[in-house]
Subunit: 347 residues, 2 copies
DNA sequence: TTGAAAGCGGTACCAT
DNA sequence: ATGGTACCGCTTTCAA
């Protein structure tokens, strides 16, 4: 019994054909008599022939591998993104190498180099909160490696991008606070470097302005590492609580910040939303379970992963250089629950 | 300027050495004069030489890739497991291909074949809830592909395994209910096929027996797909509520089942723990945020991933056949919070 | 329509 | 200690 997988050579020998013919029968299809082709295909199927991917890769200089850089896997948003990516990648026979930056610029650079060395055919990246400079990506991009930036993107590299409607989501959440009667709405967000911070901040500002609420920079708190460590959030909340006019609502810009802030307020016995209301971006699966149930801005994470992967594979397999780039913006959903609605019970 | 990465051949030419010598200098180290070696190493470093992995793979018949089969990525437990796996894999220059079975036997088989075709050097697997038969793994295992089973394991294949102390965790949770005065403790668990179901069930039974509480099979509800769809859990709870003596506590066997049950009970306005107490396995990051805060049995997911990956790489790189296998059992933690403690407020 | 052979970038055996 | 070379499995050019 043959344990080793059979090769093209085995087929050639068995069918008394040349290796070249077998190879062509297996893919080209043109310039091969249909009988020969059928014979080869049949034999291949019967013997469960599978092309050796490493040999193909070596020859074709394509690894059918895509690299992914995100801040962390154990994160509701990114876990769903991965799911979306895998769904298209596995369909098209690509596989995905996942790397985590842990919000560190340095790690992001290392991961990039590592992925380049692994000769990925393209990269899917969501920038770390620390990242300001994208030279490490640029170098690769200029060598012809396709990139898709999603979620936290950069404009310094011309390529397709996939984002959520961050501004719209932030505006909606802030407006919801305003309409619920809150006057002093704070914003806890991530590092000022990232695109999502800027966009969400813009949405927050816009809602305030449109409602003639003065903007107060003191109400905006930045967490340099997106709340990777709880201390950042703790500090932000401390500072908010120390203000002359303590905010009556907090809008948080990410999953970690939302859950983190929630946890801190609760631990300190600050009534939510009685004392301070809370709402923010989050992809947690069951926000209704919290006490009180959590108002969230939910991003279509699966769809983002899917769209990003599709665009990347499109770039990888493009016959001619692509020069016009899309920016896909996916809608978000504001799901209103009790954390952000002050009702009789609390007043 | 050279865009293409340099090869061993380039080094040989530049240094006027043979390809063989360069290759040896780069790894063997023995039988190479230290000057030559140094020259090669220096040149390689200076020119940022990186061995072509596909060529190495083809030649060595090692892909430095490991396959992972889990039920789903967007799952607190598995997301942390992945994190643990990546932490050791990337350190040892392996990469991980993640596949999801979605609790489907059929998909598990497909994923296995797919991973085999991708010529992974070994597999890390947690069985789907549907899986009874492991022939698909056995075939590969007999061809010499190393396996590690973790979390949901099988005894039909002799290899290392990594599990949590499922029985102990289940016993502790059940005992906690008993000591808190609950008499009718139900158990919602996953498919009877999986090892974790059996072990957690055993722990549950043991606690009941040791406390002279009669075992009632009607109090044990199985969700064939581990609660992948909420309906399964809904049915289980319906059946429990329809019993003559409705249980006063429910012990749930997994993250999905715990969160799902919690959600259903809340939606139906069944007071927790006033009417029915709740506790279960869960790796959610902030169980104190729930209303009431959730009592959990937490598994060391990161450590499980880490241990599994380490063992697998050990097997892959073993010089001689390994014949003695370990079963690593990691401790779990019972974290008691309000869902499972009936206090004055609720009575 | 088919075959021979070079080559992708390494590794390792056999010589020297 | 170093060099020549076959080979891993496949693709593709060139020739027949």
């Amino acid at each position: 019994m043959k344990l080793e997988p059979i090769t093209i050579k085995d087929i050639a020998k068995a069918l008394d054909l040349s290796i070249a013919t077998v190879s062509r029968a297996l893919r080209d299809s043109y310039k091969i008599s249909s009988e020969t082709k059928q014979k080869v295909l049949d034999y291949a199927a019967a013997n469960n022939y599978r092309p050796n991917l490493m040999a193909q890769s070596l020859k074709n200089k394509k690894s059918r591998t895509i690299g992914l850089i995100i801040s962390a896997v154990p994160n509701n948003f990114f876990a769903e993104v991965i799911n979306g990516i895998e769904s298209v990648a596995s369909n098209k026979d690509y596989h995905v190498i996942i790397t985590q930056s842990q919000e560190s610029y340095e790690k992001e650079v290392k991961n990039t180099e590592h992925l380049a060395w692994k000769s990925v055919d393209g990269l899917l990246v969501s920038l770390s909160t620390e990242t300001k400079d994208v030279e490490h990506f640029k170098k690769l991009h200029e060598k012809g490696v396709p990139f898709i930036f999603f979620d936290r993107i950069t404009n310094a590299i011309k390529t397709h991008t996939v984002v959520a409607d961050n501004k719209g989501g932030a505006r909606a959440a802030t407006e919801h606070f305003i309409q619920s009667g809150f006057k002093h709405i704070a914003h806890i967000t991530s590092s000022a470097n990232t695109s999502i911070t800027q966009e969400r901040l813009a949405g927050y500002y816009e809602a305030l302005q449109q409602n003639n609420i003065p903007i107060d920079e003191a109400y905006v708190k930045y967490c340099m590492h997106g709340g990777m460590n709880q201390d950042e959030i703790e500090t932000a909340i401390d500072e908010l609580l120390a203000l002359e006019t303590v905010p009556d609502a907090i809008f948080t810009a990410s999953d970690r910040l939302t859950i983190g802030s929630f946890s801190i307020l609760k631990r300190r016995n600050i009534a939510i939303p009685g004392k301070i209301a809370l709402a923010g971006f989050s992809n947690f699966s069951a926000p209704e379970l919290f006490d009180p149930s959590l108002t969230t801005v939910r991003q279509p994470a699966f769809e983002m992963g899917k769209a990003a992967a599709e665009l990347l594979i499109e770039l990888i397999e493009a016959k001619r250089p692509v020069t016009s780039f899309k920016k896909i913006e996916l809608p978000v959903e504001l799901e209103i629950r009790n954390t952000s609605v002050r009702n009789k019970l609390y007043i």
